[in-house]
Amino acid sequence: MASKSQKVAPGRRVAIVKGLRTPFLKQGTGFGKLSALDLARIVVTEIIQRADLDPELIDACVYGQVVPGLLQPGIAREVVLAAGLPRKIEALTVSRACATSIQSMTTAADHIALGMADVVLTGGTDSMSDPPIFASRALSHALLAASRGKTPVQKLKAFQRLKARDLAPVPPAIAEYATGMTMGQSAEKMAKENGISREEQDAIALASHQNAAKGWESGFFDSHVMHVPVPPKYSDVAVRDNIVRKDASMEALSKLKPVFDRRFGTVTAGNASPLTDGASALILMSEERAKELGYTPLGYLRSYAYASTDPAGQLLQGPAYATPVALSRAGMTLADIDLVEMHEAFASQIASNLQAFASKEFAEKNGFGKPVGEVDRDRLNVTGGSISLGHPFGATGARIITQALHNLESRNKNTVLCTVCAAGGQGAAVVLERA
């Protein structure tokens, strides 16, 4: 296990030079006809232009996707090629569920810190409008057998044993393979075990919407959310996220029916992150290279940590395990942190993570010594989170990094803690600083 108390990050300091994303659109709306690769290509070509970066200077691309397209499983390399970037740019596709583009960012940062690269393009994408649809196992076996058959009779024979139900396509599940539980069920479980009330969850959702709506109104997002004229017609232009509700209210949220446990449940469509299409990108450089090229970075990576817990326990409690480590590696405590950005998979998960942060018992039980502390809600997700902005799995991490750094800038603050919970009981925590 890696040292939990490394005070100074090894290697070179990594600058985040630029961040950009597409608007995040609800599944099946504006980006309904685009693939995850289309979205990635759009954001990647644009970020390079906005950064006025010579593409020849890019050493590598680390890019991620959670629901891989069957035709383009190596998204990172495909992005390089589809965006018409120099073919010499080496590419690595990464995946860590909802923390995917945190992973792509830290992997890219490691390359730079260790001197393996100077300029790395990174980020992530997902289209929940274009998921791979599988054939049933029986049908796939039959198709395979048919392709091996030499005569028409042999080819036909392969399908003989198929039943009608084998012909139905199989959509991908948002469920844990190991436990069979869906994300929603896990969120429901956490709400019950941690005593998170429906009101508290709805209040978190409401704050998310209100903060995001304010962000959009004040023009905060304009600097890092691009406009996308949607191909192939290019006549509809996606200019902002379409899930945010300015008119959200406790009353409206309280009316929604629980989805995963209709009788005793508290998790609703209103206090959970929705299925979303979108892509995001970051440009990372070594601090020296950024200066040499005349960039003023958005900020720097100070530390990061990943942690995992039993997926059969509290699936989305990962941030509670990763955060103490990341803070310790940064040589900081929560008191040194100005703002907190947490991925809002579910409001119940946010409340549970915050509860664990503050819990002495949790800290002692898991060997962290002291608890992280109470997070001041006024410093949490100040311009909204995944519940209101949406959650294209692969794109969320880089969205959070970019938004966090722009929040620091617009509020003239210096440090921010970012966390993301992920499938499999995993969690990520990142500490960023502006100066």
């Binding site: 232009q49 006025d52 010579d54 018409g84 004229p229 017609k233 290019y234």
Partner: protein, 742 residues
């Protein structure tokens, strides 16, 4: 292998016997491409006869030693040098005899084709026993002779129809189009397509197989009914092929005399509709192919040689060849006189204004130059329109199979668009294509200069605003230049580059190089109202308005100029350009050149009526579903005189054309043009001046300056000052000189 070279180390051929195969390699020393001439032919005949008598040789392979080039055709200078039709006919007969000898060789000859196989090169290959071509993208086959006013003169008009059928052969011969190896295989022009690396190996193998009789050539020409029925890939594919009309046409038209008559009559009709009788080479080609089919190879070859001879000395051919040479010369022209000035590399292009022009410029930059392009437009809707247009052009290329879908997507991704100035900082050249308004363009210059580097070139796509005026609004006037593209940019071959007195030479050289990389033929002209092309178009369109005013019928007027050889008539052109645009340019010209280019008032009421042409779906013509649909006779009521009267088409054509020609001569006299050559190319490629006339200056040279002068004076008497002959023309006529030395 070098050790086996047995002779002619310094001649055009090397001869080596390898494993029973005589490999004859064609590689003219110190020439970039292989060309055909009687000397080369004689040397070749000697070698094949040697192979024939050499007991150790079973077959022959004929291959080129040039990298990615087989044979480019006959040497054009050689054809140009002939003094008489009889001499040219003899030249053709020599070629024919050489290839007859090749065809009659008692040992099989395999042509191994990699790179361009054109004209005489293809005729050469056609006389071989068997043809293997590589899948290299540079491998192209075709008979482009008619493009130069000639016909294939070494048996091509006979062997190609025999091999692939009259219809397919005529398609190639009459259009001069070049096909890739895969298409050539489909047509039956080549027997086999192989990877480049295996060419010689496979060719040698086939030569031996042919010699041994283990390979017998059975060719099905075209899509082939018999072949179709012989396909064993299942009924569906047979039905699919039977659905193709060519299959039936072939059966119905080519294999019986009556059908043939229908085929040729039809072809002739279609041809004349296009050429209006201005391009005799195509008509001769049709005739010669027909004679071959009806009376046999011997008669066909005789007719071919005869026709070739007459065409070789024709004015049309000389004019078309002059255009070809001018184009070739312009490819080497850097645009500046100082040879030490080198163009700078353009790695990133900015375009301001994402309309049809801006979008087109972005497209050729991304697709041909292969560089990233950043477009700036006013708002998201404009950005969307620009992206749609550019992506649509890529889509079209994918549909036509010129690019694979992936390639098209990747190239399209080079074009991004924005409403702000992001992405312009790195631009080496920014081309503006915004509305024609000096103040607006000055604002654009300021804005762009605020973000771009010191050495960024600012190019304007203006078609009428003097570049000197534009440069006045720049803090770096030495970087300002005009790059006048023509619409639609991806199709029109010309780029007119305009320098103002302060334009830095490296800026000119860089813009010229950029244009060439975009696939354009580039001329450089000096600044002045309307530069060259817009300026000579103005009196041409003015004359159109005067003719309409006098009572010319719209369809008749258009037909007059189309018959004369313009791609569209002048009234149609007004509709296409936009009647308001023409009306806007008019006063600029009048201001610059006074009475002579006074704007006619005839069209004022047409513009006031909102008839701006195609873009408003209302002009001189009616537009239905975006298509031109006949003259809108209601427009006559808006002209000064409503009634129409019959007018002589030849007079109408002459009046319009002389206006253009006379103005072109003024441009040369005033130093707007750097040479008559540039003037010819600009008019032909930018405005569609009839290519068979070679351009305005060739036109005068052929007709004789004195004759042109007298025609102008004739019209000057009738119509006044606007037909005042250009001083340079008067001078030439007086001294009995010509514009072109050759």
């Amino acid at each position: 292998m070098a050790a086996k070279n047995q002779q002619n180390a310094k001649g055009p051929f090397t001869y080596a016997v390898e494993d029973g195969v005589a490999v004859i390699t064609f590689d003219i020393p110190k020439e970039p491409v292989n060309t055909l001439s009687p000397e080369v032919g004689a040397a070749f005949t000697e070698l094949i006869e040697r192979a024939e008598s050499d007991e150790a040789v079973r077959g022959v392979v004929f291959i080129s030693g040039k990298k990615d080039a087989f044979i480019a055709g006959a040497k054009i200078e050689m054809i140009q040098a002939v003094k008489s039709a009889a001499e040219a006919t003899d030249l053709a007969r020599t070629g024919q005899a050489g290839f007859d000898r090749l065809e009659a060789l008692k040992k099989p000859v395999v042509a191994a084709i990699n790179g361009a196989c054109l004209g005489g090169g293809l005729e050469w290959a056609l006389a071989c026993t068997y043809r293997v071509a590589t899948d290299h993208p540079k491998t192209r086959l075709g008979l482009p002779e008619t493009q130069l006013g000639l016909i294939p003169g070494a048996g091509g008009t006979q062997r190609l129809p025999e091999l692939i059928g009259a219809q397919a052969a005529l398609d190639l011969i009459l259009t001069g189009k070049q096909v890739r190896a895969s298409k050539a295989k489909k047509l039956g022009m080549v027997d086999e397509v192989v990877p480049t690396q295996l060419l010689l190996e496979v060719a040698k193998k086939r030569a031996l197989e042919l010699a041994a009789g283990s390979l017998r050539v059975q060719r099905q020409r075209g899509p082939g009914v018999r072949e179709t029925l012989g396909v064993s890939r299942g009924l569906a594919s047979v039905f699919n092929r039977l659905k193709q009309p060519q299959v039936w046409q072939e059966l119905a038209l080519e294999d019986n005399p009556l059908g043939r008559k229908v085929l040729f009559d039809q072809a002739r009709k279609q041809l004349l509709a296009k050429t209006r009788g201005n391009y005799p080479a195509q008509e001769r080609a049709l005739e010669v192919v027909r004679i071959g089919l009806e009376q046999g190879r011997r008669a066909g070859l005789e007719a071919e040689a005869e026709a070739f001879g007459r065409l070789a000395v024709s004015e049309t051919s000389k004019n078309l060849v002059s255009i070809f040479f001018a184009q070739t010369a312009l490819k080497k022209d850097t645009g500046v006189s100082d040879a030490s000035v080198k163009p700078r590399e353009v790695r990133h292009v900015g375009v301001v204004g994402g309309g049809l022009m801006g979008g087109g410029i972005a497209f050729v930059s991304a697709s041909k130059m292969g560089v990233p392009v950043r477009i700036k437009d006013q708002d998201d809707a404009g950005v969307g329109r620009a992206l749609k247009y550019v992506n649509g052009l890529f889509e079209e290329r994918a549909k036509k199979r010129q690019l694979t879908r992936r390639e098209a997507e990747q190239q399209a991704a080079r074009v991004t668009a924005t409403t702000d100035l992001s992405g312009f900082k790195r631009a080496d050249v920014v081309v503006e294509a915004v509305f024609e308004d000096l103040d607006l363009k000055h604002r654009v210059i300021k804005e762009i200069e605020s973000v771009t580097g010191e050495d960024c070139i600012f190019a304007s796509n203006t078609s009428s605003i003097p570049i000197t005026d534009l440069a006045r609004g720049s803090s770096r006037p030495q970087n300002v230049i005009g790059m006048h593209y023509f619409s639609p940019v991806h199709k029109m071959p010309l780029l007119e580059i305009i320098t103002h007195p302060g334009t830095a030479p490296w800026v000119t050289a860089t813009a010229v190089e950029m244009g060439k990389r975009q696939g354009k033929t580039v001329i450089v002209v000096n600044d002045g109202a309307g530069f060259y092309t817009s300026r000579i178009l103005a009196p041409y369109l003015n004359e159109t308005a005067y003719l309409l005013e006098e009572g010319a019928d719209i369809a008749e007027l258009d037909r007059a100029l189309v018959d004369f050889g313009f791609p569209v008539g002048p009234v149609t052109l007004l509709d296409e350009v936009g009647i308001d645009v023409a009306a806007k340019v008019g006063p600029l010209m009048e201001k610059a050149f006074g009475e002579r280019l006074k704007t006619p008032t005839a069209l004022d009421r047409v513009v006031a009526d909102g008839r701006l042409g195609r873009k408003t779906k209302k002009g001189f013509y009616r537009y239905e579903d975006g298509k031109k649909a006949g003259v809108d006779t209601s427009v006559y009521a808006l002209l000064p005189k409503a009634e129409r009267k019959p007018m002589d088409r030849a007079v109408m054509a002459e009046r319009c054309t002389l206006q253009m020609v006379n103005e072109a001569i003024r441009c040369l006299g005033e130093g707007i043009l750097r040479s008559a050559r540039d003037g010819d190319i600009g008019a032909v490629f930018g405005l569609g001046f009839p290519p068979y006339l070679g351009g305005p200056f060739r036109f005068v040279d052929v007709m004789g300056p004195a004759k042109v002068l007298s025609r102008l004076e004739h019209y000057q008497e009738q119509h006044g000052v606007r037909f005042t002959p250009a001083p340079l023309l008067v001078e030439l006529a007086r001294n009995d000189k010509r514009f072109h030395a050759d």
